[in-house]
């Protein structure tokens, strides 16, 4: 089952293309990190997935063939927009009961337990909570709908390091218990490795890289060797990014299992290096890239 599937998805705002020809098949049961520079189209992609934006062309479905934005899809998907917009004049208590009445099924006990854990004052107006507290409240409201797919736009941005850890710890514990799919956008690349197990890199409105993180890390490596042999290397294996300093060449390669030449050193990559290598080379999407959606379709989570 695919949590998110897009086919040739494009979105134009007036004269500008925010998304171009994005094709994705994200299997359910994953925690998906959507990364890319500012203005890459991350928010637009998420808005298309949750049904807040209508594609200019192409299709988006969630949780196996529910059209994004359909009534069925709205029931299965929870979305927390950037900066967690809540009604600032309502108290915490009123926000909870208001959200409960707006939703057919709503786990009020879950939110109450969480607000108690976070020591959020129930009588305080939401507008007077800190940005971090508002994000935490919005997350628990979204979780209380018991979604099959939770979509978060830059959830970590307003949080300090401790709150970030606590937020992600809580979210991951909920995932462990309830087994729903998560898609979140972020430009904090260094923290993704622990949390996400599926990666989408978006640049200039296009999908540059998509896949399970374990598999992507297995297929890529950091090779270093003699600078004069870089050309020959590039002819034999897809090089995502390379740099030369003096006699030493360093290359991030998508080797997909091939051994490096005997005099090249082979080191594993971490997620941050992988993402940076692709972001530094926006044209690297021309590499033998993500497998076709049809091939990915039946791969379950690890």
């Amino acid at each position: 089952m695919n949590a998110v599937e897009t086919r040739a998805l494009s979105k134009r705002y007036r004269g500008t293309w925010a998304l171009r020809d994005c094709t994705l098949a994200v299997p359910s049961g994953h925690v998906v990190a959507l990364v890319g520079p500012n203005g890459a189209g991350k928010t637009t992609l998420l808005h298309c997935v949750v049904g807040l934006a209508r594609p200019t062309s192409g299709t988006v479905t969630v949780m196996d063939d529910m059209p994004a934005g359909s009534e069925q899809a709205l029931g299965a998907v929870s979305f927390v927009a950037q900066n967690a917009p809540l009604l600032s004049h309502l108290t915490v208590e009123a926000t909870i009961s208001f959200t409960a009445t707006l939703n057919d099924s709503f786990d009020t006990a879950l939110v109450e337990a969480r607000t108690e854990e976070l020591a959020l004052p129930l009588k305080r107006r939401v507008g007077r909570l800190s940005g971090g507290q508002q994000t935490q409240l919005a997350l628990s409201l979204a979780l209380a709908r018991r979604p099959a797919l939770l979509v978060l736009d830059e959830p970590l941005a307003p949080l300090d390091p401790l709150a970030r850890h606590d937020f992600m710890g809580y979210l991951m514990a909920q995932v462990a218990e309830q087994r729903f799919s998560v898609v979140f956008s972020s430009h904090v690349v260094s923290e993704l490795e622990r949390v996400a197990d599926y990666l989408i890199v978006l640049t200039e409105g296009r999908v540059q890289l998509a896949g399970g993180i374990d598999q992507l890390l297995e297929e890529h490596a950091h090779w270093s060797g003699p600078a004069e042999e870089l050309g020959a290397l590039e002819a034999s294996v897809p090089v995502v990014y390379s740099e030369v300093a003096g006699r030493l060449a360093r290359a991030v390669v998508r080797h997909a299992g091939t051994e490096p030449p005997w005099n090249w050193e082979d080191d594993p990559l971490d997620v941050e290096e992988l993402v940076l290598a692709y972001l530094r080379t926006p044209q690297a999407r021309a590499l033998p890239g993500p497998r076709s959606p049809a091939a990915v379709r039946h791969r379950g989570p690890e």
Binding site: A119, L162, D166, G169, Y170, M172, E218, E265, P268, E302
Partner: protein, 158 residues
């Protein structure tokens, strides 16, 4: 702000070193093995629930499942349905005594050879780590080609 409210009593906590280059699941495996070797963990001890590890480290649940699966395959731990995951071994197979022959080969063979080749201690360490990484990469690659040939059956109690 307390994180773990309803944690079951467990005998070990984990920490992750982001800069070590060792995959997080492997760090958990190593920490359990280390605790067994040093006697901090003993047969019958309960490991923390997946949910509690995940909450305290803020990591993906699959990471913990993968670590526990590997420990189970090594025969060190086992899942008891409805109860949790428990230590089922008195320690990793290689205890320190068995390693003395290996250590001797390093001390009388490899180290002198490396010194003769002009390496200082830092150089030896670097060579050792680099060889270890190649060894790891090779093993991962071999495991991958095995996996593509025969899909492995997976499953462990959360």
């Amino acid at each position: 702000m307390t994180l773990v409210r309803d944690a079951t009593p467990s005998s070990i906590t984990f920490r992750l070193d982001n800069s070590s280059g060792v995959p997080p699941y492997l760090q958990i495996v190593h920490q359990v093995e280390h605790a067994l070797r040093l006697g901090y963990l003993r047969r019958g001890d309960q490991l923390p629930r997946v949910k509690d590890v995940v909450a305290s480290l803020a990591i993906n649940p699959n990471t913990v499942l993968k670590a526990y699966r590997q420990l189970e395959q090594k025969g060190l731990i086992g899942g008891r349905p409805g109860q949790g995951t428990f230590v089922e071994s008195d320690g990793p197979v290689a205890v320190l005594g068995d390693l003395s022959a290996l250590e001797k080969r390093l001390v009388t063979g490899w180290f002198p050879d490396a010194e003769a080749a002009g390496l200082d201690e830092e150089g030896m360490r670097a060579l050792f780590m680099s060889a270890m990484r190649s060894f790891h990469a090779r093993r991962e690659r071999a495991a991958r080609s095995r996996r593509t040939r025969a899909p492995v059956k997976r499953g462990i109690a959360g």
